[in-house]
Symmetry: D2
Subunit: 357 residues, 4 copies
């Protein structure tokens, strides 16, 4: 198929942050601007944000070694302006300010054809399995592009991915009038607190050992902050819930001990939504924590395509949530080493990388 020629204003090469080989580190390189197919869109990246996943890739840990195939361009949280569109693309125009769902679903499997594309059997994640957005330009399938409302702060454009994770987690069950325990106040945990707050949750307990993150929990709307290292979390939550435990557990940490504690906090008949990814198998007391308890558990992967995006947009557009407090740092893309260090230290929450300037 003939590709639509890319506009003459688009350069032939660009700067990108590249994972060059199977070893720790990344580096800025000059590389060709990606070409696009008939159903793709080329986006001039404005802002990209750094996810914990990027840190794994940077450090080249076990997970990264098994999954990542260098050389490639990481980065899966971003926003930017459409620079060119493929010839079959409809409804998107050059100049649109957009973000994108980076889980590219196959479109053909059982899941894709029955409303579960977010758990496509053959998903390819841009920025993980293929070139992503830590670059001046990114090529994205048009059906994955999300036009951003001008009513939403431009700062939040790159955050739809992690904010969508939070929305998906919180809204995977009833939340209005429910008491909620949020395990972990990383960026997605913090977003989850804000979403729960905006959607009518009753008491929100934020459980987090890092003091800085815990305080951000308060800013985002938590009712009670608990430090698992020093507070008797179970006793306090039982006392505050009339002895029942919480209606809803939002597991955002991936830490085995937090997961185990979370299920002890959950009331009989409660709902647990699990987003945090444990690095290894977790010893689960299924008898008492799940079965006798009559618990419902939702494993949360990505964002529903695109129900979650509509919800996320509505919450931001109507001013129901403010993501600003979570954005702790802004750096140019070239300062990625500094960003990784800030993230690793626990000092940063969400870091925005500005691109191409």
């Amino acid at each position: 198929m003939s590709l639509k020629p890319i506009s003459p204003s688009i350069p032939k090469t660009m700067y990108a942050l590249v994972k060059p080989n199977a070893a720790p580190g990344m580096e800025m390189r000059e590389v060709p601007v990606p070409t696009i197919g008939a159903t793709d869109v080329l986006i001039a990246v404005e802002t990209a944000s750094v996810c914990g996943t990027d840190l794994h890739i940077y450090h080249w840990d076990e997970w990264a070694q098994a999954r990542i195939k260098p050389p490639y361009i990481p980065g899966h949280e971003f926003c930017g302006t459409v620079a060119a569109i493929g010839e079959l693309v409809q409804g998107i125009a050059v100049g649109d300010f957009v973000s994108a769902e980076m889980h590219v679903a196959c479109g053909h499997c059982l899941q894709c054809r029955s409303g579960q594309a977010h758990v496509c059997q053959f998903v390819k994640i841009l920025g993980v399995d293929a070139d992503g957005a830590f670059a001046d330009y990114a090529a994205i399938p048009a059906s994955n592009v999300w036009k951003l409302s001008p009513e939403i702060s431009r700062d939040f454009g790159s955050l739809f991915d992690p904010f969508g994770n939070a929305v998906h987690t919180v809204l995977s069950g009833a939340i209005a009038g429910q008491s909620v325990a949020v395990m972990g106040c990383g960026p997605i945990g913090l977003f989850a607190i804000a979403v729960a707050r905006a959607c009518g949750a009753a008491k929100i307990f934020a459980i987090e050992p890092n003091a800085k993150r815990r305080e951000l929990g308060k800013t985002m709307g938590a009712s009670v902050l608990l430090n698992p290292a020093s507070d008797d979390v179970e006793a306090e939550i039982k006392a505050a819930t009339g002895g029942s435990g919480v209606d809803v557990l939002l597991e955002m940490s991936g830490h085995p001990s937090a997961i185990q504690q979370g299920f002890r906090l959950l009331r009989m008949g409660g709902r647990a939504s699990l987003l945090g990814i444990p690095a290894r198998a977790v010893e689960m007391d299924l008898a008492n924590g799940v079965i006798f308890k009559g618990a419902t558990i939702h494993g949360i992967n990505g964002r529903k395509m695109y129900e979650t995006w509509f919800q996320a947009e509505a919450l931001l557009r109507e001013g129901k949530v403010d993501l600003s407090p979570v954005i702790t740092h802004r750096l140019p893309l070239a300062k990625f080493d500094e960003a990784m260090k800030l993230l690793e230290s626990g000092e940063a929450s969400k870091i925005l990388l500005t691109v191409g300037k």
Copy 2:
């Protein structure tokens, strides 16, 4: 069975507002204080509020003539203090500040035994089918009594019935991030606006011809006020929803034309929850309004027992909603004629009647 003797501090007679016979009007009378059975509770009423149903009974309209069997004591929205308990009652003590679910379900039918007691086939409504709460004392089955949290304004105690109607209506489907049309700004419509707002609704359109009520819609959290007598409601809502129509229709008016308009406002695949009771059959364009639209409709009756009460309490206790603006008048019970006139005139929204003082 022997009944627990009622405490000597409780008088033998009391004042009650009575529907004396099959004709318009009500009157204050001195009547015996009700006796209670082993599983009942006697409540000293502090506040009762007036519902549109009471106005139907007062005026002795067609519906009232078919349903009501005078003489009896109306009133089904109230709060007060427990004055005595039957000998088998557990978990409720003299002195507790309480309200009550006045739909007394049979406990034996299919619905009662499968989580749908709110649509019990053999329900008896206190204040409609039997003596209610427009009196110094009311006798209520213990299982219907709801203990009120001290964190909730004492003013809101009598409002759990209509507020619960609103909570049941709004939360009968997804609401977070959804656009909502509320047809009718009577007290329950106003409460519904506040609940939708508290639970993360996106744009809330309040449609109401009465200017005073419509303005209260704004106070309670509506985004857009529309007057069906002068505004092009459909055009405005279509424009504000990108042409789709609203995600959720909350029908709180019972007016045939509002119901018909509501379904035209609803988007393809939307949800309609119907609470307002039309006085007669309604011509429904089922083909376009429901079937081709793939709409989901929920008929809303009373409050879920007692899921709705838990939700209502959580929303009030956590300060998610403020019912104060809807309370437009306070009168002593003896001024019931004035209350009925205020209600009829459309000048009042919710009127609190203070009892026994």
Copy 3:
């Protein structure tokens, strides 16, 4: 875009049943074989079946006059063999035996992007709004094509559309262990009986005035047959359900009186799924039939894309339902006049038209 050249074995012209102009009737004509785009598939039709919609189009009734734009080729229930594929088509090969979802969703609207493509705001129905399948060949978007399992009788291939309607209707709520009233024993009503039976429904009441159709209800699995013209349907169903009424109402007739009766048959808290399309507005007793009843109503349009297709295929593939009894006649496409007469007379249930032989 260059189109993939159609194989030399495909002729330039074909026979098709055409709606030639804005008047009653149809006629066989020799017309060009349709061309296909890059994402389309050309199918050599083997069997097409006749739907009530086709009869409306044939007779050129009020609905048809408002919707149909002649000249065009009707027919939306069919199966056949893939004769050619567009150059971007994946997962479908020449020679595959297929059927297709003829609701072509836009892919861009809120509904399409949130799992509700079956109520796409901009849907185009092939065979209604554009050329369909009463022809030797039909051109269909690849994403709408459904490969048929060889384990399913070839006879049922053209029936996925109406059978899918039935599956969608029955499975739009709980059915296992539920008592069910099916209003109307046209082909989709009959399929619905079989699906309800296969999915664990308790008593199934088939309500239908036409004796032949009613008897087919028995064959398909109804427990009790009722003739609304002579039986006291409400009394019999109340008696057979312990006075409660049915758990589930499946409205497959579109007749106002059947719809009204259906809601009287439904128990408090029951579920009604409405598929039959009434030709005009229906007087609904919303107060007693829906609101006080706490009923849930689902408007049913088409088939969920493609959840319904997976369910339909599983039920047929595993032999859970047998559609054969509903196929009462087989005719060559050229005998369409006879088919329309048979359908009109009420003598036929589902008529298969063989094509191209």
Copy 4:
């Protein structure tokens, strides 16, 4: 409270199987017939069946040591005839043939008041925490008694408890048209196969190492039998499901390795319902088995009160399932030692104990 005098035809003493002290074994003893309160029912037990729980109590294993307080009468699966009723009991009469839900919920907690009495925080299980049904008579709260339809085989009366477990497990999510893996063919697993079959499941895979039990799986409706000791279960199920894995996992074994395998068999986006109780914590690969998979998990405890009972009754009354093949032995209550041995050996599936003859 004065108790209704028990009819003179009821003896003062009875025979009961008693757990006499904190050690292995049980013994038949002559004990007083239990007295009943105003809201209780006395039932002359006809048949009781033996559950794996009874075997734990018999053997006095670790779980039993922690939970059971001897002396008391075990037995929680039974049916019999009402011999006397308390004075406040309505809707139950002497002579009624009944079974009972032995989970006695408190009626006051959050769960009890919001449709989740099956996970009451303060539940007391008759036959575990208090006297049960291995006796000539059992005293049961009237609200827990279930009248048995005369259309249901008298043999199945004592099986509502385990059959209800199966119904609850299978119907905790969609089942029609779904592929299902049943881990474990003990009695509840076998019942689950029959329920899945009756409710429209597609392929049902029964995974069980014991050949006799596995064969019963076939009788009850399994499509494919797999022996985890010799078959490559994962490869076979993947092959039979087009590579996806099963839609639904029903975990009925409680074995850690089966639970782990079950989650590997489950497709992306699938549903797992866990009923089998593992004796210890289980290493769970939450990342791959639950979170990335987007799985939904339901912990299953008891039976929903009383939705499950209505469903179970409907399935039995309408002849949708036949429980007979699972009843492998019948013995008089006095032969309990033999029953325990048969159960332990794996030779028996469900054993009926006849009482009082």
